[in-house]
C-alpha cells in the first residue's frame, strides 16, 4: 500500500504539499475491505449520503424560511406553494429525516448483530452513539420549525422533561425556552441549533470514519483480517456495491416523496400552532416513539426521564457489558435469538409509543421497557459467559476461496472464551 505515483504534474504538485490525492487513494480506492461484507454493510454509506441530502435541502429551505412565531407556518406554506420546486425540497427534507433514521437504525442493529462494537472498535461505536443522540436532537428541533400544532406541543412536552430534575429543573426549562413558555425565543434558538448541529454531526462522521479506517470494517464472520487474501480494494468492488444500494434507497425514498409525502407525519402539524388548544394526542415522529414509550412506562416523571436517557446512554457501555469474545451472532446460537427478541421488543415499544397510554398499552409498554434493560444489563453479560459459541472459521478468505462453501469446511479453531 505504498503511495501512488501521480502522473499529472498539477496533481503531483498539490499532493507533494498536501497529500489529499494520496489520502483519497488510500481511503477510498486502495482501502482494504473484508471481501465478505454483505448488504447490511451498505447502510453506513447510505447514512452518509442522506446526511448530505439533508444538509443540501436544509440549506435551501433556510433561504426561504422565517423563524418567527407569526411567520414560520406561513413561510413553510409559501415554500410549498410559491417557491419553485419548494414542495420537492421540503418533502425531500421531511422524508429524508425518516429515511435517515431508518437507515441509521438498521446500521445500529447491524452492529449489534455482528458485534461491531467490540474491541478494537469501541470508540468507533461510541462515536456512532454520539451521532445518533445529535441526530435525535436535530430532528426534534427541526420538527418544531414549521410551528404547527405538533411542533409546538412536542416542544412543550420535550422541554418540560427537564423540569423533572430536582432543584434546577425549573430553571433549566426556562433557560431552554428563553422565557416562561415555548415562544419566539425558543423557535429562534431551535432554528439556530437545527442549522448548526448537522455540521457537528458531519465532523463526528469524519471521526467515526477515522476510527473505522484505523482497524477497518468488521465483517459477517466477526473474525479478524489475516492477510491480503481476506480483503479486496474498496474501489471498484464496494463503490459498485454502494452505488447499487444507493439506487435502491433512492427508489424507496423518492416513492415516499412523490407518492406519499405525508405518510410519516401527523396531520395536526398542518394546523398552525395554538398555545390555547391542546391536540387530542401529542406524539413524536415515528423514530422517537420507542423512547417516548419508555418515558411513559414509568409512573414517576423523573424516573421516566432517567430511563429514557438511560436507554440510549446504555449503548455507550455495551462494549463492556458484552462478555463474549466472539463477535458475530452467526456463531452465537443464544445471542442470535436474543438479538431478534430485542428487535421485536423495540418495535413493540414503538407501537406502544404511538398509542395513548391506556389499558393494555401500559402493560405492554412496561414489560417491553423492562425487557430492554434486562437485555443489555443482564442477558448480554450472562450469555457471554454461559453460551457455547459455534467453532469459528479459520479465516475470511478460507470459506470463500477454499470452495468448501461454508464455515463447516474450515478447521475449527480452539473455542474463544472469555
Amino acid at each position: 500500500m505504498s503511495a501512488p505515483q501521480w502522473k499529472n504534474p498539477i496533481v503531483r504538485w498539490i499532493d507533494y504539499r498536501m497529500p489529499i490525492f494520496t489520502l483519497i487513494h488510500h481511503d477510498l480506492v486502495d482501502y482494504p475491505t473484508p471481501r465478505n461484507l454483505n448488504y447490511w454493510w451498505n447502510f453506513g454509506s447510505l447514512a452518509g449520503f442522506l446526511l448530505v441530502v439533508m444538509i443540501v435541502t436544509g440549506v435551501m429551505l433556510a433561504m426561504h424560511y422565517t423563524p418567527h412565531v407569526d411567520l414560520a407556518f406561513v413561510s413553510v406554506e409559501r415554500i410549498m406553494r410559491d417557491v419553485n420546486y419548494g414542495w420537492l425540497i421540503r418533502y425531500l427534507h421531511m422524508n429524508g429525516g425518516s429515511m435517515f433514521f431508518l437507515v441509521v437504525y438498521i446500521h445500529v442493529f447491524r452492529g449489534l448483530y455482528y458485534g461491531s462494537y467490540k474491541a478494537p472498535r469501541e470508540l468507533l461505536w461510541m462515536l456512532g452513539v454520539v451521532i445518533l443522540i445529535l441526530m435525535m436532537a436535530t430532528a426534534f428541533m427541526g420538527y418544531v420549525l414549521p410551528w404547527g400544532q405538533m411542533s409546538f406541543w412536542a416542544a412543550t412536552v420535550i422541554t418540560n422533561l427537564f423540569s423533572a430534575f430536582p432543584v434546577v429543573g425549573e430553571s433549566v426549562v426556562h433557560w431552554l425556552w428563553g422565557g416562561f413558555s415555548v415562544d419566539n425565543p425558543t423557535l429562534n434558538r431551535f432554528f439556530s441549533l437545527h442549522y448548526l448541529l448537522p455540521f457537528v454531526i458531519f465532523g463526528l462522521v469524519f471521526l467515526h470514519l477515522w476510527a473505522l479506517h484505523t482497524h477497518k470494517s468488521n465483517n459477517p464472520l466477526g473474525i479478524d483480517v489475516k492477510g491480503p487474501q481476506d480483503t479486496i480494494p474498496f474501489h471498484p468492488y464496494y463503490t459498485a456495491k454502494d452505488m447499487f444500494g444507493m439506487a435502491v434507497l433512492l427508489l424507496v425514498y423518492l416513492a415516499f416523496v412523490f407518492f406519499a409525502p405525508n405518510f410519516f407525519t401527523e396531520p395536526d402539524n398542518y394546523i398552525p400552532a395554538d398555545p390555547m388548544v391542546t391536540p387530542h394526542q401529542i406524539v413524536p415522529e415515528w423514530y422517537l416513539l420507542p423512547f417516548y414509550a419508555i418515558l411513559r412506562a414509568v409512573p414517576n416523571k423523573l424516573g421516566g426521564v432517567v430511563l429514557m436517557f438511560a436507554s440510549i446512554l446504555i449503548l455507550f457501555v455495551l462494549p463492556w457489558l458484552d462478555t463474549s469474545k466472539v463477535k458475530s451472532a452467526r456463531f452465537r446460537p443464544i445471542y442470535k435469538q436474543l438479538f431478534w427478541i430485542l428487535v421485536v421488543d423495540c418495535i413493540a415499544l414503538g407501537w406502544v409509543g404511538a398509542n395513548r397510554p391506556e389499558g393494555v398499552y401500559i402493560v405492554i409498554g412496561r414489560i417491553a421497557t423492562a425487557y430492554y434493560f434486562v437485555h443489555f444489563l443482564i442477558l448480554v453479560p450472562l450469555v457471554g459467559w454461559l453460551e457455547r459459541p459455534r467453532p469459528l472459521p479459520e479465516s475470511i478468505g478460507a470459506p470463500v476461496l477454499g470452495g468448501g462453501g461454508a464455515a463447516v469446511g474450515a478447521t475449527p479453531k480452539p473455542m474463544e472464551k472469555a
Partner: protein, 253 residues
C-alpha cells in the same frame, strides 16, 4: 435467518403504519374513489370548478382560505379575465396612499383569498363562540383527509336516542366528540351549478372536497407527474448498477 428478516421487516412496516387509532368518540370515514388518488391521479377539472362554486357560495360565508391566491385559480382551468373577475368581486384594504390614508380597492389576482372575518374574535362572536377553521390545508390537516371531509359534510344525522346535544350544536358522528358547531352546511339545491349538474348534497360535498384537496395540495399533479418519470429512471438506473456490480464482482468468485 431470511425468514426472520422477512418477519422483522413485516413487523417493522406494521409498526410504521400503526398510526394512533381513531378516537372512540368519532366514526371512521369510508374510503371514496377520488379522481386525484392513486399514482396517476389528477384533479377532475369540472369537479374542481363546481367545488370552487360551492366554496364561494356556501363555505366562504364563514371559512377563510388564506393561503390560496386568486391567481392560483388558473390551475382550475379558468382564463385570466375570469380569474380577474373572481378577484374583483372582493374588496381588500390597502395603503397607506400618498395622503397617508388606508383605502379599499377591488382584489387583484395576486391577492390572497379575502377572509370573511377580520380576525378570530369577530369570527367567534358571529358563530356562537366557535371558530370556523381556515380551509387552506383542511384535507392535509385532518386524519382521513378527503374521505374525512366528505364523510363530515354528508354525515349529519339525528342524534341517537338519549344523547343530549349542547346549545347550538349539531350531531355528526364523524366529528371528534360527535357534536359540531357548524350547522349542516349543504342542502339540496343550495347552489345552481353552471354546468347543469344536479346539486345534491353528495354531489356538492364531493366537489367541494375535490376543490379543497387541491387547495391543500396544489403541487399534487406536478408531483405525481414528475414522480413517475423519476421512478422509471431509477428503475433503469438500479438495473444497470446491479448489472455493473455483478460484472465488477464476477472475478472474485
Amino acid at each position: 435467518m431470511r425468514g426472520k428478516l422477512m418477519a422483522g421487516a413485516a413487523a417493522f412496516l406494521f409498526a410504521l403504519s400503526a398510526n394512533p387509532a381513531w378516537a372512540v368518540e368519532q366514526s371512521r370515514p369510508a374510503a371514496q374513489d377520488w379522481s386525484f388518488s392513486g399514482v396517476f391521479g389528477v384533479f377532475d377539472r369540472a369537479a374542481q370548478q363546481r367545488g370552487f362554486q360551492v366554496y364561494q357560495q356556501v363555505c366562504a360565508a364563514c371559512h377563510s382560505l388564506k393561503l390560496v391566491h386568486y391567481r392560483d385559480l388558473a390551475a382550475l382551468g379558468y382564463a385570466d379575465d375570469e380569474v380577474k373577475a373572481f378577484a374583483a368581486g372582493k374588496e381588500v384594504q390597502d395603503g397607506p396612499n400618498d395622503a397617508g390614508e388606508m383605502f379599499t380597492r377591488p382584489a387583484l389576482p395576486s391577492d390572497h383569498f379575502v377572509s370573511p372575518f377580520a380576525n378570530a374574535q369577530v369570527a367567534r362572536a358571529a358563530n356562537n363562540g366557535a371558530l370556523p377553521p381556515d380551509l387552506s390545508l383542511i384535507t392535509k390537516a385532518r386524519k382521513g383527509g378527503a374521505d374525512y371531509l366528505y364523510a363530515l359534510l354528508v354525515g349529519y344525522a339525528d342524534p341517537p336516542e338519549g344523547m343530549e346535544l349542547m346549545e347550538g350544536m349539531s350531531y355528526n358522528p364523524y366529528f371528534a366528540g360527535r357534536q359540531i358547531a357548524m350547522p349542516p352546511p349543504l342542502a339540496e339545491g343550495a347552489v345552481e351549478f353552471a354546468d347543469g349538474t344536479p346539486a345534491t348534497v353528495e354531489q356538492m360535498a364531493a366537489d367541494v372536497t375535490t376543490f379543497l384537496a387541491w387547495a391543500s395540495e396544489p403541487d399534487l399533479e406536478e408531483r405525481k407527474r414528475l414522480g413517475i418519470k423519476v421512478i422509471l429512471f431509477l428503475l433503469v438506473l438500479t438495473g444497470l448498477l446491479y448489472a455493473s456490480k455483478r460484472k465488477v464482482w464476477s472475478d472474485l468468485h
